[in-house]
Symmetry: C2
Subunit: 383 residues, 2 copies
């Protein structure tokens, strides 16, 4: 096990009707900016629950944060924060709204000229405006970590950063919100959280027995609840296990002391930036190819995964690891998610080359747990 | 899954030679009281590592906190805290030293007459002197939770309490400390952490798929590393997995949203208070009897445990659950821990009745996850 430092101070308030507790968690004299997305929270009743809970507060609203939160739109919110002396941010939404709010938390305290530098320079953020979240879409885990990803439309870039100042003060997770989420978004949440675990796990063996088993526990649980929640989004127990699994998949715990990969996300972000494909779909496109291309360095772990998560006990390490990759592909398909880029766009032929060049331009010589997946490898495996 | 609130703000600094980072974690102008036990830290070099790391600080020392930290001794340390205007406590030790330090953290800010009331009244503690820990003995998990247990010699009582103010600011976990721990204390740590998981897990099924699997992950890991670390305490990887498992066993995570038991600990504490038997040994004495006596209400979970932790896939639920109890007993024996009270004391005949009366006196009508294990049941199962 590698040395590590772990601190996750976010308070989780989990369960039925817990949104009503919101007022207890925000400082009495706060001037609150409430941020949300396209307005689905007005249809499903969450908007009203939040406003009712916060009736005693002075609240400004900022709606319209899109999925893959855009820098240009967030800069409008930043103007409001400064003009109105906002002291507390409240994200009501999924990963995009929460990530956008984290960017704003950092940008509000940033002393440089251009807040995009926070992302371009990837320096850890140690100072931010306090914020909390009400999660409406389980997927990214952003509700219990300090990271965020922002897209810049003009340059077609999607970059990630974060820091210890960007953990939410609190996150309220009411699994009942899942009952009104469209099925394709539930599928994306399942695929996204599943891949978050894989990125921290599918490397090489014997790094940590406990983190391995925790990772496998989340994968097994997602596999177990996926058909239940896809079939009936009002199943509270399945919803609760799905929601908590998404949070645990990316709150830092399973990644402590182990080498991580994240190459799938780095390639996937480019596909979203270039083609506007949903984040989770890009992961489903890249993951199987990434594992097939890098099977030699990952086969022991792939075989362990095949055994422990999918119950494949027969065959050689190579056979098991290939079976594990197939099971992964089948799992994405079972969610109705396609795994070939050509199924999403006709314009895919140049994608590999463009992404290769972008990685070279950014000076990324090698990605993955060994830092050995070169831009050339990226192009080849994407092709 | 039940509703829950979870916040664990302790910063974990884990790994080789991390004690050297101590000075970064304590406020510059702090007046530090360093607390430790019987002096083993002077023999194994940890005392010197700590003092070297803190050479720029103004440090007062308080040595001699015994296992099952005693109220009477801690009250002497409280005098020092008050007389010398101590602003930060540093526990260097195992669960006893850390628990004693938590009591002092609470007692230093307590406004009532008698700090024992903190335990007698069991009110959550919301105000404490800040403190950190350097863990020298993995077992209790006290390094990453807000609970503590104190013994009062004059009344032969051992009581527990805690609160949100009593999470350590930081805990430094260097697995290398394990190489100098006597084998019987390593055995106790393995049995103690194993039982901590059981208390949060061995209840009834279908409460939470993920917490169940996390609990099983810790149990499997303890079972896997136990023979390795018992055989060679210098095996770093086994030590690291053992140490992190002990922390994860009782940092709150696996107990969120599920009904818990803790009857074994409540009975075990009485055996320690009455006979001075090691805490972990009392758990090994009580656990098998507790599960046999309450097998009807626990059999589904006992069978799941037998299957997933011990690989027992054949037989009826009753057979599997009995096999699970036997495996548990065998595991304690494999650590060299005896599981019968009569193997520890000749004076055991009246113990059941004394404990029954104590539970009645305290008004404890029923313990366990259903609150249905009565003082009479306690007497019967202990007999």
């Amino acid at each position: 096990m590698n040395n590590f430092e772990f601190k996750n101070p976010t308070k989780i308030i989990f369960g039925k009707d817990e949104i009503a507790k919101l007022a207890n968690e925000i400082p009495d004299n706060a001037k609150v900016l409430m941020l949300y997305g396209g307005g689905s929270i007005k249809k499903n009743g969450i908007y009203k629950q939040v406003k009712d809970a916060l009736s005693v507060f002075d609240i400004v609203e900022f709606a319209g944060i899109p999925s893959n939160p855009e820098y240009e739109i967030l800069m409008e919110a930043l103007e409001i924060i400064k003009a109105q002396n906002i002291t507390f941010l409240l994200a009501v939404g999924g990963g995009s709204v929460i990530d956008g709010t984290k960017f704003l938390s950092a940008a509000a305290k940033y002393e440089g000229e251009t807040p995009w530098d926070l992302l371009a320079q990837r320096k850890p953020v140690f100072n931010g405006l306090p914020f909390g979240t009400v999660l409406t879409l389980p997927a990214t885990g952003s509700e219990m970590n300090g990271g965020f990803v922002i897209t810049r439309r003009e340059t077609k870039e999607k970059l990630a950063t974060g820091g210890p100042a960007l953990f939410p003060q609190f996150s309220i997770l009411d699994p009942q919100v899942i009952s009104s989420i469209p099925q394709n978004q539930i599928a994306n949440g399942l695929a996204d959280s599943f891949t978050h675990v894989l990125e921290q796990y599918m490397t090489f063996p014997n790094q940590s027995l406990l983190q391995d088993r925790f990772a496998e526990s989340i994968l097994q649980t997602i596999v177990e609840v996926a058909p239940v929640i896809m079939n009936d989004a009002t199943d509270y127990d399945a919803a609760a296990n799905f929601m908590w699994s998404c949070t645990m998949a990316l709150n830092g715990l399973i990644g402590q002391g182990v080498s991580q990969d994240w190459a799938i996300h780095m390639m996937g972000h480019e596909l979203t930036a270039l083609f506007g494909i949903d984040h989770a779909q890009t992961l489903a496109i890249v993951a199987p190819s990434h594992y097939r291309y890098n099977i030699e360095s990952k086969k022991e772990k792939l075989a362990q995964y095949a055994e422990r998560v999918w119950g494949i006990t027969e065959g050689t390490i190579e056979e098991k690891s290939n079976a594990g990759i197939e099971k992964t592909e089948d799992f994405f398909h079972s969610l109705g998610i396609k795994t070939k880029l050509s199924e999403y766009t006709e314009d895919y032929e140049n994608a590999a080359g463009i992404i290769e060049n972008r990685f070279i331009e950014r000076g990324w010589k090698g990605i993955g747990e060994h830092g050995k997946v070169s831009p050339g490898d990226v192009a080849t495996l994407l092709r």
